[in-house]
């Protein structure tokens, strides 16, 4: 009888841990719901460069989210019969910013800048995945410390020492 309880407890524990891992992964990799169903794929296939809309990663910390004005620059004339574009036009007429939901983020105690990362020749896809094929934008990696250090430690010395310093990212 004792053995029965022991094994049922063990199975429960294992199932619990696996469920926990699964739920965490679902939470991390789930796509947040956006105010407008925006598709990166459509725009990339139309031949637009990442940097046209996300214009500042080469000169600042943040890549930047395009303003409604920038969207309307094209969508005044392009595809303005689509319901999503009409939603966009609604924001434009009401003079409201679109409350986009952030997909990739760093914790508040981390200093992160796009500038040095792009400066070493990384492309957007290295961290953000094949975003040009995404109809719904979702994160492809869990941006935790182990993931950051995976690259930082592969750099040649003495750069690796400098990049592995806690103060390189922790603020």
């Amino acid at each position: 009888m004792n053995r029965f309880w022991f094994f049922s407890f063990l199975i429960l524990l294992v199932v619990g841990i696996l469920t926990g891992i699964l739920l965490t992964r679902i939470q991390v990799f789930s796509a947040p719901e956006q105010p407008i169903a925006y598709s990166h794929k459509t725009h990339i296939e139309a031949g637009i460069q990442c940097l046209y809309c996300h214009s500042s990663p080469l000169r600042s910390d943040l890549a930047g989210i395009p303003s409604v004005k920038k969207c309307m620059g094209c969508h005044n004339v392009i595809a303005n019969d689509k319901p999503e574009v009409q939603e966009l036009a609604g924001y434009w007429e009401r003079e409201e910013p679109i409350p986009w939901v952030r997909v990739s983020s760093q914790p508040e105690f981390i200093y992160f800048s796009h500038l040095p990362h792009l400066g070493t020749g990384l492309s957007c896809e290295t961290c953000h995945g094949d975003i040009g094929q995404m109809t719904v934008t979702r994160p492809v990696v869990k941006m935790d410390m182990g993931w950051c250090l995976d690259c930082h430690l592969k750099e040649p010395q003495p750069k690796a020492t400098r990049l592995a310093d806690c103060l390189a990212c922790h603020k």
Partner: protein
């Protein structure tokens, strides 16, 4: 004994020179530090218990006999010691020495034993006794480059690591090294009498290393062998 800072060495060692002959004790550096580094304000009553969070404390001394009395001021911040007494006592390695001669404090690791604060001979470390509260609209002026420390965390002067990092990244993007005097911690930037000078002590041409070699230079409690990165100047002709 740590390596002598006067010897030339490869790599950077950040240092701060405090010219006591120029310091007027105006506390502008303390205010600038508060604004830059999101320091909480505990109030008069708690500060009387020694629970202040200033990263810079200005000590006042009286010199001479009445009527020829002079007020002397001495700003004391983390001395960024090469042989820091705070580092070996930390049970969780939250404080360590980095490659650029900075005594780093990693808030995520800190569990608030306050051993480092007890070990520090300069009493430069402060402890967050309370949950930081920034009433509106003060939340709007928090520096996004510095985390807001929660209750139970030890903290201290960082030489404005966020500013060092910013200048280094910008200089790297332009394909050059930071020039002497380009990096300015908040206290250095705000000091109205230029009593504070920041730079690389290992660069023999920097303003800081030249001042460090002057006959006026001294360090606090040199007999402890901590080899501080803050260098004080005193004994000039300037009369305050």
């Amino acid at each position: 004994m740590a390596k002598d800072a006067n010897q030339s060495d490869e790599g950077i060692r950040w240092a701060l020179v405090v010219d006591l002959d120029r310091c007027t004790g105006c506390q502008a550096c303390v205010v600038a530090c508060h604004a830059e580094n999101n320091l909480q304000i505990v109030g008069e009553k708690e500060a009387a218990y020694g629970r202040w969070t200033h990263w810079i404390i200005i000590h006042r001394y009286w010199e001479g006999e009445y009527p020829n009395v002079k007020a002397r001021f001495m700003p004391i911040m983390c001395q960024q010691c090469s042989e820091a007494p705070c580092e070996p006592v930390c049970p969780v390695f939250a404080t360590y020495h980095n490659e650029e001669g900075l005594n780093a404090q990693i808030y995520n690791r800190c569990i608030g034993t306050r051993f480092c604060g007890s070990a520090c001979p300069y009493k430069a470390r402060v402890y967050n006794w309370f949950r930081p509260e920034f009433p509106e609209p003060l939340t709007e002026q928090l520096n996004p480059d510095v985390s807001v420390r929660t209750r139970g965390i030890m903290e201290k002067c960082t030489f404005c690591i966020q500013r060092i990092r910013r200048v280094e990244i910008d200089a790297q993007a332009e394909g050059r090294s930071p020039t002497d005097g380009e990096i300015q911690p908040a206290c250095v930037q705000t000091c109205p009498t230029s009593a504070l000078i920041f730079g690389d002590l290992n660069d023999p041409n920097s303003h800081v290393s030249q001042l460090a070699h002057s006959r006026r230079s001294f360090r606090l409690l040199p007999e402890l062998g901590t080899d501080p990165g803050v260098i004080y100047l005193k004994g000039g002709e300037v009369n305050v």
